[in-house]
């Protein structure tokens, strides 16, 4: 018998192993998207069903931990799972498919941030396009149950069947903690499963509980034999934390709910209370229809005023009631040994956050990460480049010169290449991030750097994404996901493209080596060229500081940046978690940003190809290829033919749509000291900065294979003149071009990654506009300053 898939939401505090649990339940096949209108990621997976053997036999692999054989754990299994119900449940539900929805890691359902708002909306069925879940799994850190139960105390009030998962169970005993699971389960009124998600233990037990929870809502089952074990859906159970709220508050909440009902609006009781406590993150806009907004707001304000008069205001009464409830429910059931086991974690922390050693270690880790994403990544990147060239050459061998060949080689293959070329850096950076996050150092790195980063308008967590952006902004922008504060994340994400990425270096090298005099100072130790190169590399980072300040001040006002962060204990990273995370990032980059990058690359190819007729150049190319195959052919003839092809190509690009646009732009770029040809090259380098060199090579009739060390290109550029005979390229022009490239957003991949990460076109457009303006003004200013000075 088949049913529509049931939905089960997975929620928990950050650092509880929620994503490992998700992967353990669903495997690696997750559908990742975004919730409408927010940056919050939406992850859903189909739960892997229990193996047939697991359906009929008790869970043999529940916990393979050292403490597995202890009676305490045995008790866990038998009490949370009444033996008489087991076979029945399995039979009734084995065919039912279950979707697991992974909700963002959050400490509370107070809905003050977008993450929390999404969680509340999904759980209460207010998220458009997402069905209300049939059950909730709350995952908690088993070594820190009390604080983790805060979120649980809120979730349970939503009235959905709930399962509590005590994850990282393997660390409970070594930490000197004992948990009386059977009585805790009875007291909280929900089934409890202990798991070690990273080691895949306890997962089948959880699957069974999920089937059971879903079964009860679908009315597939008769009443469970023990009503304590499975909480029925529907009305809020008798003893929840909000019962401890002051009388005055409960009365107000009730009358507000009654009024809403009288005007025909159904709002979850939990949300009515939330509206009354702190109407944050625009909750009322989402749950109250426009028609009654005005009268509702009046009532809400009046109720809040009455509560303030009664002495019930501020967030304290809620937290106090909830923690009071938690204390009552856990009292005597969770015990910590009187003399706390001296934690290794504290000892490691003493060193890793030490005044000198901590900084040194941090620098060493960052150096390792940076070296890996620049040096190590350069090998696979070179292979990708070679593979792309080989593929292009192969296609050229099969197809005669013409529009189709050009589309395939210069459009499609180059376009795919421009997506894949980022994968090594993304994979390596996310490998490090996954390791550092999973072992617990990531939060310490943020802790170590926070003061410095805060002084320049960001948070300690901004450091790694920004540093990575010196290699490439794409992985850097993707890494801003690790920043949980929205304001800090947005500011970091928007300044990350200003960091001098490796694609800018070839442009600098070309300009510096061609136009900056090779002067040496201080006994030839200090070269002027080196100084200019260094200045260019640092320019973006320096400009980022005032930009960050302005963004914080004007674009993200009113959002406070906080650093209230849990420092979870150190542990050995789990390879399963790491592999899953790296894989997830790679897939998400290819499927989401990749397509957009590809499309833009092909569009820019078309703009540079059409509307000119390529008949002559195609004919010459056919001749050239025939000549090259003939062994006796004259090398001089080949050189002549190549020369004429290059000249023809230069004519074609100047006559293309891109060329026309470049010439039209001449009056605009003239204040920067540029001529129309530089304008064309800059336009053509919109997909990626380094393309400017190949385009300059084409424009100066040297062929598209010119490199930054190409002497022919340098001398051609030096020889280029304005109509009046004065040289186009002077030191001032060269510096103006470099400043422009240091600050501009000439990188489609970056813009598309911003689009993907912010889930809106607003921010890539904003980035492009602000960076291009900055680049233009900066280039104009330096051009005129250098001209004045020389």
């Amino acid at each position: 018998m088949k049913h529509t898939p049931a939905t089960v939401a997975l929620i928990g505090n950050p650092n509880t192993g929620k994503s490992s649990l998700f992967n353990a339940l669903c495997g690696s096949k997750a559908r990742v998207g975004n919730y409408p209108g927010v940056t919050v990621e939406h992850k859903t997976g189909r739960m892997i069903p229990l193996a047939q053997s697991e359906l009929t036999y008790p869970d043999r692999n529940a916990c393979t931990e050292p403490g597995d054989h202890l009676p305490k754990l045995e008790a866990t299994r038998s009490t949370t799972q009444p033996s008489n119900g087991e076979n029945h449940v399995s039979n009734a539900n084995e065919s039912r498919e279950i979707d697991i929805v992974d909700l963002p890691g959050t400490y509370s359902l107070a809905a003050r941030s977008a993450d929390e708002a999404v969680s509340v909306d999904v759980l209460s069925g207010n998220m458009p396009g997402v069905r209300r879940p049939d059950a909730v799994v709350v995952i908690v850190d088993a070594t820190n149950i009390e604080r983790n139960l805060y979120l649980f105390s809120q979730v349970i009030e939503l009235g959905l069947p709930t399962i509590l998962v005590l994850n990282m169970w393997d660390r409970v005993e070594p930490s000197g903690i004992t948990v009386d699971i059977p009585n805790l389960s009875r007291g909280l009124g929900v089934p409890i499963v202990s798991t070690c998600a990273s080691k895949r233990s306890g997962i089948d037990q959880l699957r069974r509980e999920i089937y059971r929870a879903v079964g009860t809502t679908a009315s597939l089952l008769p009443e469970p034999s023990s009503s304590v074990e499975v909480k029925p859906a529907g009305p809020i159970p008798s003893e929840v934390a909000c019962d401890g709220f002051p009388e005055a508050f409960r009365t107000e909440a009730e009358s507000l709910a009654n009024w809403l009902r009288s005007v025909g609006v159904t709002v979850d009781p939990f949300q009515v209370q939330r509206l009354l406590i702190d109407d944050a993150a625009g909750l009322s806009h989402r749950v109250i229809p426009q028609a009654v907004t005005k009268s509702f707001t009046e009532r809400l304000t009046a109720a809040k005023n009455r509560l303030t008069d009664a002495g019930v205001s501020g967030p304290l009464f809620e937290t106090r009631a909830r923690y009071g409830w938690i204390k009552k429910k856990t009292s005597g059931l969770i015990n910590r040994s009187v003399t706390p086991v001296k934690s290794n974690s504290d000892w490691i922390d003493r060193w890793l956050t030490h005044r000198w050693f901590g900084l040194l270690f941090f620098v060493a880790v960052m150096f390792l990460v940076f070296q890996s994403i620049t040096l190590v990544a350069s090998w696979p990147m070179a292979w990708i480049d070679e593979a792309q060239n080989w593929l292009g050459a192969t296609v050229e061998g099969f197809l005669a010169p013409g529009p189709l060949r050009s589309l395939l080689v210069d459009g499609v293959i180059a376009g795919v290449g421009s997506v894949i070329i980022f994968l090594p850096q993304i994979a390596i950076l996310f490998l490090f991030i996954a390791i550092l996050e999973d072992c617990g150092y990531m939060s310490r790195a943020a802790f170590v750097m926070d003061k410095f980063m805060f002084s320049i308008g960001m948070s300690g967590k901004s450091f790694l994404p920004l540093m990575s952006s010196f290699a490439c902004a794409i992985p850097g922008i993707m890494a801003t996901r690790t920043i949980d504060n929205r304001k800090d994340r947005m500011v970091t994400l928007l300044v990350a493209p200003l960091m001098s990425c490796s694609a800018r270096l070839p442009v600098y090298v070309l300009m510096v080596s061609a136009f900056v005099p090779d002067l040496r100072y201080a006994g030839s130790w200090l070269s002027l060229q080196g100084c200019v190169l260094f200045a260019m590399q640092s320019l973006g980072a320096l400009v980022a500081i005032p930009v960050a300040w302005l963004l914080k001040r004007f674009c993200f006002r009113g959002e406070t940046s906080t650093f209230i962060m849990e420092l979870s204990s150190y542990k050995w990273p789990s390879w399963r978690v790491i592999v899953a995370r790296v894989w997830e990032r790679i897939l998400s980059f290819i499927s989401r940003a990749g397509t957009l990058i590809f499309i833009t690359s092909v569009l820019v190819w078309a703009a540079a190809y059409f509307p000119m007729s390529h008949a002559t150049v195609d004919k010459s190319l056919t001749e050239l290829e025939a000549l090259r195959l003939a062994p006796e052919s004259n090398s001089e003839t080949i050189a002549q033919l190549e020369d004429s092809i290059n000249r023809e190509r230069s004519r074609l690009i100047e006559g293309s749509y891109l060329g026309i646009a470049g010439h039209t732009l001449e009056p605009i770029v003239k204040p920067l000291g540029w001529d129309g040809r530089i304008g064309i090259a800059v336009l053509a380098s919109f997909p990626a900065r380094e393309v400017i060199i190949a385009t300059l090579g084409t424009i100066y009739a040297l062929g598209g294979e010119a490199s930054e060390e190409h002497d022919g290109l340098k001398s051609q550029m030096r020889a280029a003149t304005w109509p009046d005979g004065t040289p186009v390229f002077t030191l001032a022009t060269a510096i103006s071009i470099m400043v422009f490239f240091a600050l501009c957003a000439q990188c489609v991949s970056t813009l598309m990654t911003i689009r993907r990460e912010t889930n809106s076109w607003r921010w890539p457009i904003f980035s492009f506009v602000y960076m291009t303006t900055l680049a233009y003004l900066g280039a104009m200013l330096t051009y005129h300053l250098v001209k004045l000075w020389l």
Partner: protein, 80 residues
């Protein structure tokens, strides 16, 4: 002798205090309370970041990091 009332940011490394109050009713105060910094709980200063801020604390069985601006919101009675 009466315990001395001070802000959490004034406690030195290794010192303990009992939380007396969390000042304010905005998002920061609410988050501090949600994270378990409730009146009556004992909090200990574990260590500071190399540049002197933020600070690592131990409270209700876990470690939390707070900036000075945040820990200044928390009133504590220093434990002897």
């Amino acid at each position: 002798m009466l315990p001395s009332r001070m802000t959490l940011s004034e406690l030195k490394i290794g010192e303990k205090g009992v939380i007396a109050d969390v000042v304010g009713s905005d998002g920061i105060a609410a988050r501090l309370l949600e994270m378990g910094l409730l009146p009556g709980e004992t909090i200990e200063v574990i260590g500071r970041a190399p540049m002197g801020d933020p600070t690592e604390y131990s409270v209700v069985g876990y470690r939390i990091s707070l900036r000075k601006v945040e820990s200044a919101r928390v009133q504590v009675d220093k434990a002897s």
